[in-house]
């Protein structure tokens, strides 16, 4: 015998409604709220899981990737059947979330977030959540959020360490006030090169989720206005004061309203190389890559060689040829989204 879930019931949320700071009024606000989760990997699956269970009324899950076995270590909404079925992450997540909570609306969007589609993905929601793995998409989210005056929550994780901050345009510093520029490609560790622990991602995504619940339920004064840094392996928890940066930094985004990422002036440019089963990813940066450092990071992951003019790296059926200006030709795919994903994972942007 199956027992139907009462679709209008608030009872299923009774344990969080009893939490005084939320209460029934806060719960009703959550149920009327709309959220876009950008990226549905390790951060994104934890974000989506928490918010679906908490009863956020509308979730849009956006991701460009398909599920692979090495995702299962930390991407909590997926299982081995999803890998076997070759499902896109956004779609597999949406199916699972609808089973977790049939009272809410879940929309899956399988796409590569870029400057041409971001406004469509976020303009009809109350909050944007960061489940991405790269600064290019985060600066794009930041531009869109500031332009639309919408809050968003940043999260980033490597190894056992993570950072998060809650960004409210005009009230707090934005991402570009705090991180004025992203590290050049190849200079920053990624989850592929430095590894990542599931509990570290889950911790940061949980911080993001609780901030989302505060914000959507209207408890603005309880929000975090600092840059939170956690290292789970070494038991450190730090709260860096960043509020004073607002207006102090000559921020191109939130002060001068010059949306360079949203306008397409910054960010990578990707082209399929016809008939070559390859995609070129070009970044618009002037820094010269440090091939020696990149080789050290990539050597455990595949065959890597470099000279002064290029670095060549082969892994899992893909071959990267990277040039000193950050441009890369990735062989083994014709799919632009896949190539951008591989670039973010192995080169970093």
């Amino acid at each position: 015998m199956s027992i139907a879930v009462d679709s209008d019931s608030i009872d299923r949320y009774s344990r969080q409604v009893r939490f005084p700071a939320l209460g029934e009024a806060g719960q009703r606000k959550l149920m009327a709220s709309r959220v876009t989760i950008c990226g549905c990997g390790a951060l994104g699956t934890v974000l989506a899981n928490h918010l679906a269970r908490a009863g956020v009324g509308f979730l849009r899950i956006v991701d460009r990737d398909f599920i692979e076995t090495h995702n299962l270590q930390r991407q909590i909404l997926f299982d081995e059947d999803d890998v076997a079925d070759n499902l896109p992450k956004a779609e597999a997540a949406a199916r699972k979330l609808r089973k977790i909570n049939s009272q809410i609306t879940v929309e899956s969007v399988v796409t590569d977030i870029d400057h041409t589609n971001i406004l469509d993905l976020v303009s009809d929601v109350d909050l944007i959540l960061d489940g991405t793995d790269n600064f290019e998409t985060r600066y794009l989210i930041n531009d869109a959020a500031v332009k639309l005056g919408k809050p968003w929550i940043f999260g980033g994780v490597i190894g056992s360490e993570g950072q998060t901050m809650t960004i409210r345009p005009g009230v707090t510093p934005c991402l570009r006030c705090v991180v004025e520029d992203s590290p050049p490609p190849g200079m920053t560790p990624t989850c592929e090169t430095a590894g990542v622990l599931g509990p570290a991602v889950a911790t940061i995504a949980s911080f993001e989720s609780v901030e989302a619940i505060k914000l959507l339920s209207g408890d603005i004064k309880a929000l975090n206005d600092e840059l939170i840094m956690v290292d789970l392996w070494n038991w450190s928890f730090r709260r860096l004061k960043i509020a004073g940066l607002l207006g102090k930094v000559d921020c191109p985004c939130c002060q001068r309203k010059n949306f360079e990422w949203l306008d397409g002036a910054l960010g990578s440019h990707t082209t399929t190389l016809c008939g070559r089963n390859a995609v070129q990813v070009a970044t618009r940066r002037s820094d010269k890559l440090d091939f020696a450092q990149m080789s050290i990071r990539l050597s455990p992951l595949g065959d890597v060689r470099h000279n002064a003019y290029m670095l060549r790296f082969a892994t899992d059926g893909h071959e990267f040829t990277v040039f000193p200006d950050g441009r890369a030709i990735i062989k083994g795919t014709n799919d632009i989204a896949k190539a951008r994903s591989l670039y973010a994972q192995f080169v970093g942007n």
Binding site: G39, G41, A42, L43, G44, D130, G131, T132, D133, N134, F135, G155, G156, V157, I158, G159, E161, G162, Q163, V178, V179, E180, D181, S182, P183, T188, P189, T190, C191, A194, V196, V201, I204, L227, M229, D231, R238, R239, L240, K241, I242, G244, L245, K248, V249, G348
Partner: protein, 89 residues
């Protein structure tokens, strides 16, 4: 002496040390002394005489950009942290 906290990605340049002692009355002087001890590290955090734009420096959890930047005065017990942005997720 004030201590400088070194973030994980930069520890290969300090022989694995997560904190380093350095001498100097300002953040700039401290970081210059750090750079003398570990020249490869200096390259990673400075672009000429300016800090690289993806590296932030905090004195006791305060961002130096709203203090006096590299001229921010540091006392003996102060803790200076180099904080790079974390990309993954």
């Amino acid at each position: 002496m004030p201590i400088i906290r070194i973030p994980t990605p930069l520890r290969p340049h300090t022989g694995g040390n997560d904190t380093v002692e350095a001498q100097g009355a300002t953040v700039g002087a401290l970081l210059a002394d750090l750079g003398k001890q570990y020249p490869a590290l200096h390259e990673r955090i400075f672009d000429g005489t300016d800090l690289r734009r993806f590296v932030n420096v905090y004195v006791n959890n305060e961002d130096i950009r709203y203090l006096e930047d590299l001229e921010t005065v540091v006392a003996d017990k102060d803790e200076v942290s180099i904080i790079p942005a974390v990309a993954g997720g």
